[in-house]
Structures are given as C-alpha cells and as structure tokens.
Amino acid sequence: MPLDAPFLDLLRAQVGVESTRYLGEITRQLVARYARAIGDDDPLFFDPEQARARGHHDVVAPPNLLSSVMCWDEGTPTHELRADGTEGRSLPAGLPASEFRILGGGEEIELLAPVTAGMRVVERVVLRSVLPAEAQGAHMVALTYEHLYSTADGQPLLRSTRTVIVR
C-alpha cells in the first residue's frame, strides 16, 4: 500500500476517534526497575519510607515512565510480531503490519500529578492529526497522538502528545 491519497483518507478517518483502556496498577517493582533501567538512583523511586516522608503515598515513578511503556498487557504472541519486532496492533487500523517502518518523531509530556505505586491507571488515546511529509526524497506521514493517563477514579496524571512517523 503506497502512501497515497486513499491511504491518507484511511488514516484521516480515524482522527478524533477516542479509545480508553485500563492499563493496570503501578507497582513498586515496575517503578524501581524503570528507575534502575534509566540509571537514576533517586531514593523516591526505591524507598517507600522516604517517599512518605516527603508527602507521597508510596514510591514515585520517574517522570516519563507512564508514556514509555509500549505495552501494558502480555502483548502480541511472539510469532505474530512484525519483522522488526514491533507490535502491529499499536498501528492505526488498516495499516498493513509489514509494509511500513514506524519511527518515533518526538514527544511532549505534561506532568499533571505525581504517579505513585498503588495507582490504577487508565489511558485515553486519540489521533489528533495526519500530515503528509517528505524528507530526503522519501514520502512519509506524521501521525500525532494524544494520550491522557489518569487514575481509575479520574485523577489526571500525565498528558503525552507524541508524533509517529510512518514511511
């Protein structure tokens, strides 16, 4: 499928369509392992007592943890992953899983409240825009998504606006 007008129409039909899903509970292990993986040893990420002493319910997640996790459940069966290893189901509906490369194009996050262990998190996703682009003679499409992460009882935690490049 080329990056032509019908393809763009297919994507544009999904602009503004929202989906909401429950992601799961933030655990101390997730927070600590994420902090370890990024090499940040701030005690707020590891020590519940220090976190409570500073007014938090439990250990605090590093700032971009929520928006960095690509998949919150068990994920696609390994034999169904795309050739590059990525999850085809994260692509817009109708996008052939094997024909395009997907690249990150930048992200802005707004931190609306501290994220702490024990929170149960819900994500709302909406495709905001579909823009054709060209770089070094190659056609591509820039998809901009907004993700709003909230607690299960409605407290906003983090808003992410990220651009995904399809080429």
Partner: protein
C-alpha cells in the same frame, strides 16, 4: 494540546529535599544559568533492560545484526531513554523528581550502545509565582565522539521557594 497547563498552574509543590547541585538558593537562579551536566554511557545491557521494562520488542534496540542491516553501527538508544536522560538532568538539578511539569524532546540523531552522551541545559525564562518559581530550560543531549546533538528539547520545572 488542550486543557489546563500544569506548567502555568501546578497543583502540587513539594518541599525540596536537597539543594540544587550548584548550591544556589531558589531566588539566586537566573536566566542563562547552566544546569550541571551529566554524562550517560548507555550499554547493551542497559538498552536490553530498558526494552524489557517498557515491553518494547523492537529488534533495533537489542539485535545488533538487525541494527547493522538497517544501516546503524550498533543497537539504538530508545527515544524514551533519551528523554529519561534529559528528565534526570532536570530533576537532579532541582533535587526533586516530582518538580518536572513539562518535558518536550525531539530526537535529532541516533545514538548507540557505547556512545557517551553529555546532557546539558540552561535557563531560558523564569516565571515568578507566590509559592514557586517556574524555571523554563533548554536541553541538549550531545554525543561526545563527534559533537552531534542526538536529542534536544525544553522543560518546565516548579521550584519551591521553601
């Protein structure tokens, strides 16, 4: 972007637990001040761990043969790991990982395992509020071997006055 911006109206201000690394008091920070640099040296095990904890199965971050097929000299640093490095630059300077209110990062060039990345920034603007100062900073992550900017961006940090 829609809704209330926490960058202009934060709803939580935690007391600082540690001084800023340059030991300036909140009121001494000025436009143009440099954030203390940090150096990050991502390794293959770190990239593997980061892919694992974020459940990111993209081969370009752990399969060196695949990365070379794609034209890269090694496995690539994940875009969110670049962002995490710049977030750490900010929060270590601030002394509070909950002080970050906004972070915008664009990946300019790739980085691979084995690269050394210098993270630096400076204060662009300061908004004075009753309980805090909102510090707006410019950020860069630079590959030491050739000076290429791998990531750049901006951040806003709420800095408690007390």
């Amino acid at each position: 972007m829609s809704g209330e911006s926490p960058g202009s109206n934060p709803t939580w201000i935690a007391p600082r637990s540690a001084p800023l690394h340059d030991a300036k008091s909140p009121l001494e920070i000025q436009v143009g001040d440099q954030l203390p640099e940090i150096i990050r040296r991502p390794t293959s095990p770190q990239l593997f761990r980061y892919s694992a904890i974020t459940w990111n199965a993209h081969r370009i971050h752990y399969d060196e043969a695949y990365a070379r097929e794609e034209g890269y000299p090694g496995v690539l640093v994940q875009s969110h790991l670049h962002s995490a490095y710049l977030a750490t630059l900010c929060t270590q300077w601030l002394g509070d990982p909950t002080g970050l209110r906004k972070l915008a990062v664009t990946i300019r060039r790739y980085a691979v395992a084995g690269d050394s990345l210098r993270c630096r920034g400076h204060v662009l603007r300061i908004d004075e509020e009753d309980e805090y100062r909102m510090l707006h900073v410019s950020l860069q992550e630079i590959r030491l071997s050739d000076g290429v900017v791998c990531a750049s961006g901006t951040a806003s940090l709420a800095h408690a006055r007390k």
